[in-house]
Symmetry: C2
Subunit: 159 residues, 2 copies
DNA sequence: TCGAGAATCTCGATTGTCGAGACATTACAG
DNA sequence: CTGTAATGTCTCGACAATCGAGATTCTCGA
């Protein structure tokens, strides 16, 4: 009935994966009494911690695509939950540094840990060459999306 | 500093792709004056249309993971925007069928069309064997997420 | 020193989401 | 056939996440 083109099939499949992951995150959010945005923020904060990036409200808001008022409210929530702590930057005192608390790491792991574990386990069915191919593919798709997003941001900022 | 494990790398990369796609959808939503949920609904409605599935409010709500009140409000919005039309099912008169309007298809294509096109173009850098590998990989990841989600839904429904 | 610009926060309004429950319809047991 | 349970959708009231506009505090270059 549809999709002879293997390319189209893959696009739909990739989207199906993102749909599933989003629903999984939403489910986790609901169970923990936090909102989908909070989970997304948690992801970025943990990434930042792992990569040694210094997180600030402005940075976080940019990552999530929300405005500054929402970011403040978001950080308030995360702070109230004990997931992050606000700390004035001593160098640039306009800035606030978001310090990820241990509890956030624990919470993040309780959700992502098992998921990651299962995914990595599934990957054992692929040899190194195949994983390299997948990696190349995902990088290409990410770049398409990222490039397209930047282009549209610019064109809307120009108005 | 991190990630010697190629498996972990891939998990993070997969997540990065979903983050980009979500942001892209959010950007599109904001530009068109609709909400992220509306875009997600549009995706599922177009899929249903393409696959010949008869969409109803209950079905749509289940796809999106929102409750019935939100679903009603969502369908109200979509109907007001002229994207779908409500139509009573003559066989089971409790049901309402969601008929996707041409305008929805046009709108969906204006967003997904170029994106899909670029992605398919990028895939020309892969031969058939490689695409088959990617397909196998994505199917595995989707199933991990889907299985995990169902498991957690069941465990929370049991309470 | 002064002014432009950056980073964060406050305020008021809008609106998407939820929980509980109403209503109509269908399915099924007796 | 009849009454009862289950299903699909919608209504209502409350909550809270988000936004736009603007205030505040601070940095940095002229």
């Amino acid at each position: 009935m549809d999709d002879q083109d293997p390319g189209l099939q893959l696009v739909h499949l990739l989207r199906a994966v993102t749909v599933e992951l989003d629903l999984l995150a939403a489910e986790f959010a609901g169970r923990e009494g936090l909102h989908p945005t909070d989970v997304r923020a948690l992801i970025h904060l943990l990434d930042a911690g792992r990569e040694g990036v210094r997180a600030t409200p402005g940075w976080l808001g940019a990552q999530l695509g929300v405005n500054s008022a929402s970011t403040t409210a978001l950080v308030d929530r995360l702070e109230r939950l004990g997931l992050v702590r606000r700390e004035r930057d001593t160098r640039d005192r306009r800035r606030v540094l978001l310090v990820v608390q241990d509890q956030a790491v624990t919470l993040g792991w309780s959700f992502f840990g098992p998921l990651i574990h299962e995914m990595v386990a599934e990957m054992r069915a692929f040899d190194e060459t195949e994983l390299a191919t997948v990696r190349r593919f995902l990088l290409a798709m990410r770049d398409v999306a990222a490039t397209r997003r930047r282009a549209q941001q610019d064109s809307s900022a120009r108005r």
